[in-house]
């Protein structure tokens, strides 16, 4: 049979200690929980990063910009030369037709499938992640993302509208670029695949590397 504690001052002190300890414990539970809530809602929409990554991004960007200045200087020199200026003009036209989606394009890359209806933020973040990891062209369900014509919009029945086209799941993202870099970046610890799966229990992003991806020109 359970013995009732004596109501002496020592037991009262113990009860008080238990109460205070429990209270502190409760505070920690709440603080910890709120801390994770905040991270889940906002910060986790971007990959965890570090100083190394920060420096690497800047270094690569500057290297690309330096490359662009060399290309443009070469272009300027050739444009000044009357014997090559017409050829350069035609090359420029073709280059910008490719950039603007006026030409059908191909290249290696990856296909990412989002299996089911999902909130807009995941679609926005996935496109951003593909671009951030070096995708040179991206299409969603066959529609190439060009200029400012695209934007994901939710319509009442849960469907997604993009530039006048209703997108039905599965959402298939085709990205042309270095397929290994693209895949590894998406799959890295803390990357978008992990974040998506953490947010959508039981669902996963399916990634497939391809030697050739074709993207139609913009209609």
């Amino acid at each position: 049979m359970l013995q009732l504690p004596n109501l002496n001052p020592l037991n009262t002190e113990r009860r008080r200690a238990i109460f205070i300890t429990s209270f502190i414990l409760g505070v920690f539970v709440v603080v910890q929980s709120r801390s994770f809530d905040g991270l889940t809602q906002i910060s986790t929409r971007d990959s965890a990063s570090n100083t190394f990554r920060e420096i690497q991004v800047l270094r690569d960007t500057n290297r690309n910009l330096q490359g662009e200045t060399v290309n443009l200087q070469d272009l300027l020199d050739k444009t000044k030369d009357s014997s090559s200026s017409l050829k350069v003009l035609e090359q420029e036209i073709k280059k910008f037709e490719v950039i603007n989606g006026n030409q059908k394009i191909k290249g290696p890359g990856i296909i990412v499938r989002v299996p089911d209806h999902t909130e807009l933020a995941s679609l926005i973040d996935l496109v951003n992640e593909l671009l951030n990891t070096g995708a040179e062209a991206v299409s969603v369900n066959g529609v190439r993302l060009i200029g400012n014509s695209f934007g994901f919009d939710a319509i009442p029945n849960g469907q997604v509208l993009m530039n006048g086209t209703i997108l039905e799941p599965p959402y298939t993202f085709s990205a042309i670029g270095d397929s290994t870099v693209l895949e590894n970046s998406l799959r890295q610890a803390g990357g978008i695949v992990q974040r998506y799966e953490r947010k959508h229990q039981g669902k996963t992003l399916k990634i497939e590397k391809k030697d050739r991806i074709d993207i139609d020109k913009v209609q």
Binding site: S22, V29, S43, V57, E68, F96, V98, G109
Partner: protein
């Protein structure tokens, strides 16, 4: 077992539990680089500043070279097809290589007053996040904006808007708060879209709860600068090539 022994066990368990929570609390990853010794921090900041300065110079060079190429092509009109030159101008404009002016909207975003991005104690809700800017840009796109810029960086279809450490990069260029997003287009339509209470609800809640700055201004004149970065075409080709 006496009540005293039981109480002792409860105390031990509670102590262990609190210890675990302490440990969990301090092991929570804060999404800011802040745990570096002062000298490493200064070295990092200096290195980043050097890269940013270099980037500014390179972007100016690119803008100047693009301008010189345009001028040279105009000079070649006698030997080049005017139709082709005009077509190329249109293509470049569509690609974001021209300044766009006109009516539009300005979206101002800033961290909560007093929130310091470099501080370890800052809570994410008090800061403008890259995801906030992405959501606004997405919304401006659905509102058929003609052109968008963020702190003077032209936004293209291929522009990533990302968080690196406590910083935000647009076109892989650093941008610092306050953030000024400009969009050319139907300013009233864009305003209504952004004001819609069902849209950007989380950002609006943080603006209310954490005093995050989120303001909209209709503009009779916006100036969206030309893109001054590189175009990546290493892997993309056309089927016939």
């Amino acid at each position: 077992m006496t009540m005293t022994t039981r109480l002792s066990i409860i105390f031990v368990l509670l102590g262990v539990t609190i210890g675990v929570f302490f440990a969990a609390q301090f092991r929570t990853d804060v999404p800011l680089d802040s745990a570096y010794p002062a000298d490493q921090y200064v070295a990092r900041q200096n290195l980043i500043k050097d890269y940013i300065d270099e980037q500014g110079i390179l972007r100016n060079q690119i803008a100047n070279l693009n301008k010189q190429i345009d001028e040279q092509q105009k000079k070649n009109e006698a030997i080049l097809s005017k139709t082709k030159l005009s077509y190329l101008d249109d293509l470049k404009a569509n690609a974001g290589l021209t300044t766009i002016t006109g009516r539009g909207i300005q979206v101002d975003l800033a961290d909560s007053p007093g929130a310091n991005r470099e501080s370890t104690g800052v809570i994410p809700e008090a800061l403008v996040q890259a995801a906030d800017i992405r959501d606004i840009v997405n919304l401006l796109r659905t509102g058929h904006s003609d052109a968008i810029s963020i702190n003077g960086q032209r936004v293209l279809a291929t522009t990533p808007i990302t968080a690196v450490g406590g910083n935000i990069l647009v076109n892989n260029s650093y941008i610092a708060p306050p953030f000024e997003i400009m969009a050319a287009g139907d300013e009233n339509f864009l305003y209504q879209r952004l004001k819609d209470p069902t849209i950007l609800s989380e950002l609006k809640k943080r603006a209310s709860d954490f005093k995050l700055q989120f303001n909209l201004t209709l503009k009779s004149h916006v100036n969206i600068p030309a893109y001054n970065g590189d175009f990546r075409l290493k892997y993309v080709t056309t089927p016939e090539s």
